[in-house]
């Protein structure tokens, strides 16, 4: 009987393997000639996850032997796991702090891949026109100081919206999140009380609301909870058809998150020598105020040459041909001046001291 169970199990596992091997070859066709499959594992930010998962799926079609598994566990997780060396690359929407970088086993490079917007999405039944929010009102909503949708400070800037007499349920990220980092960075820039009471970080102490895991979780929670408001990457709000608020930017205009408004936010801001740039509360005309570059984190000098070469090739593809996939998912492609710097950076990646991409 025991042998029987064992054999049933082994059989099912064996057929499982056989099944997937068969599947792979079927999908692979003749494919590339560079031998065995290369499996790359990455983890981190949920902010660019819709784009990354699209990229990795498309890249797998172009290079069937390269399987890039990206898990969206949050930017904090991306930084933590690449530092601990449990993944081949990490991803974050906020640059690593020096104290974080010090824990890694080598020098980590930030490769900016795209620009996204943190949209303020909400679920208020019966409200069709986009809700307008000034920086002060936005901060007070997330501080829990404004807790009703028909609060007079909200109705004053939204005279035409039929805001109901309903409690506001704030939805925030329960995990270490770059989206939170970007959002709190913005709030701290525009609201002194936010800066002193809550501060800036990937995980902060939220004064009010419900916690959910990942951009996916926050978006899901907003959809499930009438009266809720939260901050998510624009792609999530668009894909799940949630309305997003028009935020008042530095120039005083109310701007809805969009590809153009995000591109405007990045215009005129140059990446620094580490390839970081903060583009929140951008001064440009028509700029959406909460936008951010998002980064893939890789070791400058990697250990496994085969994996490193595959990763460098993928990154090169992502910042060149791959940029075509950004717009349909509501991300902004890298501006030309940034893309040039990023390409130089990718060319500088090494494995065991040897450069990975020659010429190109």
């Amino acid at each position: 009987m025991k042998q029987h169970i064992y054999s049933v199990l082994l059989f099912s596992i064996a057929t499982g393997f056989a099944g997937c091997k068969g599947k792979e070859t079927a999908a692979t066709g003749s494919g590339e000639s560079d031998g065995d499959d290369i499996a790359l594992n990455g983890a981190g930010a949920t902010f660019p996850y819709p784009l990354y998962s699209k990229w990795m799926s498309e890249y797998n079609k172009l290079h069937p032997t390269v399987k890039i598994n990206y898990q969206s566990i949050g930017s904090g997780g991306g930084i933590r796991q690449i530092s601990a060396g449990t993944v081949d690359f990490g991803a974050s929407d906020v640059p690593m702090k020096e104290s974080e970088a010090a824990k890694a086993s080598g020098k980590l490079q930030h490769i900016p891949t795209t620009i996204g917007a943190v949209a303020v999405a909400y679920n208020v039944p019966g409200v069709s026109t986009p809700v307008k929010l000034t920086p002060a009102v936005l901060a007070d909503v997330f501080l829990g100081k404004i807790d009703k949708w028909n609060d007079e400070r909200l109705t004053a800037i939204n005279p035409n919206a039929a805001l109901p007499d309903k409690q506001i349920a704030v939805v925030f990220r329960s995990d270490g999140s770059g989206t939170t980092g970007v959002f709190t960075d913005y709030l701290a820039k525009v609201s002194p009380s936010w800066k002193s009471e809550v501060g800036v970080g990937k995980s902060v102490k939220w004064p009010a609301g419900l916690g959910a895991k990942g951009n996916e979780g926050v978006t899901g929670q907003i959809k499930m909870t009438p009266g809720s408001i939260g901050y998510v990457e624009l792609a999530y709000a668009m894909q799940s058809k949630l309305p997003t608020a028009a935020l008042q930017n530095k120039a005083g205009e109310f701007v809805e998150p969009s590809l153009e408004a995000v591109t405007r936010a990045a215009a005129g801001v140059n990446l620094n020598e580490h390839l970081y740039a903060s583009i929140t509360n951008s001064g440009g005309k028509g700029a959406y105020p909460i936008a951010a570059y998002t980064y893939i984190l890789v070791y400058q000098d990697m250990k496994d040459p085969r994996k490193a070469a595959a990763l460098a090739k993928f990154l090169w593809w992502a910042v060149t041909d791959g940029q075509a996939f950004t717009k349909p998912l509501h991300y902004a492609p890298l501006p030309a001046h940034s893309a040039d710097k990023v390409k130089i950076e990718i060319r500088s990646l090494k494995a065991e001291g040897k450069l990975l991409i020659s010429g190109a």
Binding site: A43, I73, G74, S75, G76, G77, G78, I79, R80, Q81, S83, S99, E100, K103, Q167, A169, S174, D175, G176, G199, V200, G201, K202, S203, V204, K205, W206, G209, L210, G211, A212, K213, Q221, M224, T225, P226, G227
Partner: protein
Amino acid sequence: MAQASLPIEPEPRPGSSARARPGWLGRLGVGTSVGDGAFRVTTALVAATVVLALIAIFAELARASSLSLEAFGLDFITSQNWDPVRDEFGALPFIYGTLVSSLIALLLAVPVGIGTAIFLSELAPEWIAKPLGFLVELLAAVPSVVYGLWGIFFLAPVLREHVQPFLASTLGILPIFQGPHLGFGMLAGGIILAIMILPTISSVSREVLRAVPGIYREGALALGATHWEAIRTAVLPHARSGLVGGVILGLGRALGETMAITMVIGNRPEIDLSWFAPSYTMASVIANEFTEATGDLYLAALAEIGLLLLVVSVALNVVARLLVWRVGRLPSGARV
């Protein structure tokens, strides 16, 4: 050579035990026959791995949490400040969330569970008791994540639209039933836990009641007691410590339960009197933050929560088993 020949010694006769050597091998039983000795040693070593695994779990968690233990000491469990930005970690909100959600679970599951056990073991005819008992035990078989899924899409909306408005309008003067109706929160977590520990409580209670000798019941009935009086005066007193043990086992399960409650409790590290408000449990914070905690202290703080959880659940488990053993044996294979 001598070592290699040990396990393949052909068919030793029982009489060979006469050549038993003294010393540690003898104490382990090697003396009786070489095959038997090897057998005993092998199984003993394997059995010892169970003990080692348990010790290793404790040791590893203690090691992983040492930073936080040093940094915060006892403040860790009394501070309610969980602030990763400032590297300040107090676990009280999670301890509170865990305790209160488990308390709600007990409040709901104990009467239902023990009532079910009494019905199944004392009142129901066999043809009802068997299938019904089986169904209740199946509750324990449904995976936690499936309860979570059901909680998100069924329980939370029902609470938000019907139960919470009802509670607020009838018992709204109580602080536990005040605040906005979100669906997700402490109450949802407590209800999910109640469902999950119900089979533990009812199956242990059922075994305990069964272990009470029939003579007590019959004696009471013969003296003219009603069925309930017989149960109350003759059966329950004998079963009491076992019933308490079953409840504690249920509590132990509730404390360590992770996925389902993470999916419905709202995940906010704040102490709020209201059961409608979102809360957070010790297990949930580990599930949410363990892979992404940056900073050694943050990680150590999470590991310390794990250690606390481990110590408390293990202690409860031991106490419960002692209580149940006083009455009778645990049902074998009971998922506790």
